[in-house]
């Protein structure tokens, strides 16, 4: 058995073998091993739920693969509401022709990342469709929200500081380099952020807003938050962390790192008096060493001027930033 064929989706023997040899072998846990039609798990008073689909091409890239990506993406979406990620389900859509060795690597990567993030994969599904070796994953995730936690865009308040947890644009630059067959040492940043968020919460940082910086990049995320909260955001170009290699790569291609996607970076908006404490906590976490304070939140006096995002440029100019327009880069996650 080297490639996925239509028979693997038949629901019969080939499907059972596929599940047993590939998925069960890696995902095995007490809930999944019951092999019932639905997983039964303990609950909590407030749960966060999310779903996401992953269509990245290529399937494997420096620093990660679609398996790691789908766990990180789902875990991080849950974390951004202050939830502790608990359970994940996954649906695979496999085109005939998928290389089975590659599928095994991806599934193992999912299992490893789930372990790292402290989540259980409790249910799954596989379908096979005609095609040419494509692989897509849909996930759903559930997380438990500790009592008293209320993190959302609307909470951004006058005087708050804006922290970004590390270098921006890495994932986008990695995927693009792979597709263009450009050799460099840029690696995707795809990573689960539950440690970072968990520590901010357990250290009683009254976080106002969290958002992971994915497609559309930092500028798009901040503009959306400014609009949603009815505030104005101001950020400083010289404080925005970008890896030098990503910077020159994007410069060559005429891309702006502010609009390039990540898969393991968050924006945290916290009250000013917690700036240092929050920054230090993030910096001590595994994926937060390059975290920086990049700007602040201002509530405008005039209501007609809300929702602006201004970048103070390195030479002292000011640039108004909007959400990403147009294509960006399709299929980066």
């Amino acid at each position: 058995m080297e490639k996925i064929i239509m028979e693997h989706g038949s629901g019969g023997r080939a499907t059972s073998e596929l599940i047993k040899e590939i998925f069960e072998a890696e995902f095995d846990n007490d809930v999944l091993s019951e092999m019932e039609d639905a997983a039964v798990v303990p609950g909590a008073e407030a749960i966060a739920m999310t779903t996401d689909s992953f269509v990245v091409t290529p399937l494997e890239f420096p620093g990660g693969d679609i398996g790691r990506l789908c766990i990180c993406g789902t875990v991080n979406d849950l974390c951004m509401r202050g939830a502790r990620p608990k359970y994940i389900t996954c649906g695979f859509i496999l085109e005939e022709g998928v290389d089975i060795e590659q599928l095994k690597r991806i599934v193992k990567s999912m299992a490893d990342t789930a372990k790292e993030a402290g989540v259980k994969i409790v249910a799954g599904d596989t379908k096979v469709v005609e095609g040419n070796g494509g692989l897509y994953i849909n996930t759903a995730g559930v997380g438990f929200i500790p009592s008293g936690i209320d993190i959302k865009a609307k909470n951004a308040a006058d005087g708050d500081v804006i922290i970004v947890s590390g270098n921006i644009g890495d994932h986008h630059a990695t995927v693009l380099s792979q597709r263009m067959e450009i050799k460099n040492t840029i690696k995707s940043d795809n990573a689960p952020l539950q440690e970072m968020v968990g520590k901010l919460i357990s250290n009683n940082i009254p976080i106002h807003v969290l958002r992971d910086v994915t497609r559309g990049g930092l500028a798009t995320v901040l503009k959306e938050l400014a609009l949603a909260s009815g505030n104005n955001f101001e950020i400083d170009a010289e404080n925005i962390p970008v890896d030098p290699q990503v910077k020159s790569f994007s410069g060559l291609l005429g891309l702006d790192p502010l609009y390039m996607g990540n898969e393991g970076k968050l924006v945290a908006i916290v009250p000013k008096e917690y700036t240092d404490e929050a920054l230090n906590i993030i910096k001590e976490c595994k994926y937060g060493e390059n975290a920086c304070v990049i700007g602040n939140v201002k509530t405008p006096e005039n209501e007609s001027e809300t929702g602006t995002l201004v970048l103070n440029t390195e030479i002292g100019g000011r640039r108004f930033l909007d959400i990403l327009q147009g294509e960006g880069l399709p299929r980066i996650c």
Partner: protein, 345 residues
Amino acid sequence: MEISQLVDYLRNYDGKPVRLMEVCGSHTHAISEHGIRELLSPKIELLSGPGCPVCVTPTAYIDRLIELSLEVDTTVVTFGDLLRVPGSKESLNEAKGRGASVIMVYSPMDVLKLARDNPLRKYVFAAVGFETTAPVYTLLLDRAIEEKLDNIRLLTALKTMPGAISYLCEKGANIDGFIAPGHVSAVTGAAYFVDLAEKYHIPFAVSGFSAKELVVAIFGLVKMIEKGEDKVANYYTSVVDLEKNEIVEAQFQKYYKKADVAWRGMGILPGTGLMLKEDYAHFDAGSAGLDVDNKKNIACRCGDILMGKAKPSDCPLFGKVCTPSSPQGACMVSQEGSCNNAFLS
């Protein structure tokens, strides 16, 4: 002088009002990206000329691409910035939504792999650009010939800058100085602009794309204007030579011949285009005569804006009907377009 002193000088400048034009889309973008306009005295006006290749491409070209992309055996391959540009009725993206075959790439060389993998399909590359991009298409053709790939075509909309600058000078855009295109100059050599400077008594400053390089070039231009000089000053010496680049010149002549081509909003300018020579006509997807420009919205003032006769904010559509999410003209679509940059800064 320190850069901060140059900025102070430009901020406090109180001499004769000057109008400076950049004719390179990357400059347009960089000026907006670094917030350069904010740093200048109101007496120094920066205008964006016809330097964005997508912006100067007539709608007939987009319409032809769409027509090709709907043929059963043909795929149009393009840079991303062309996808949303309105043709006379729709954009490539809209056509794609109803079944057109369009692939976006970051490098024209990606066509080679497509053509190799699918020998029965024709791949038409949307070869839009100036002096800077033409060499890449040369390379593509070299490789296609070497590999005997007979399923690659170009739909060319290639233009050269000097003729357009002449036109602007003659048609009364009242420009006092040009920020010369850094990329074009890197390819051609800065001497490319000397004849123009002398003929129209206008100074040129060849500039790079960082904030500092642009400030230096603007300062240099203002100083040359004050002194009444009509030189070509090269402030991008790390990349640009003064001498004409004979190699590039020879490359242009290998595949292309000069042609009279239409610039969107400006009409047909003699000798400002590059078309494939007869010997290579089999690579051409029908590029000749795509001159008609049927505006999607009749009120669009892109033409005047490209010529420095109007600012984006003078257009009745700007920021109202015409925004980056509902562009009425190419200048609002492209990252290098004057309207797009004016909207976003």
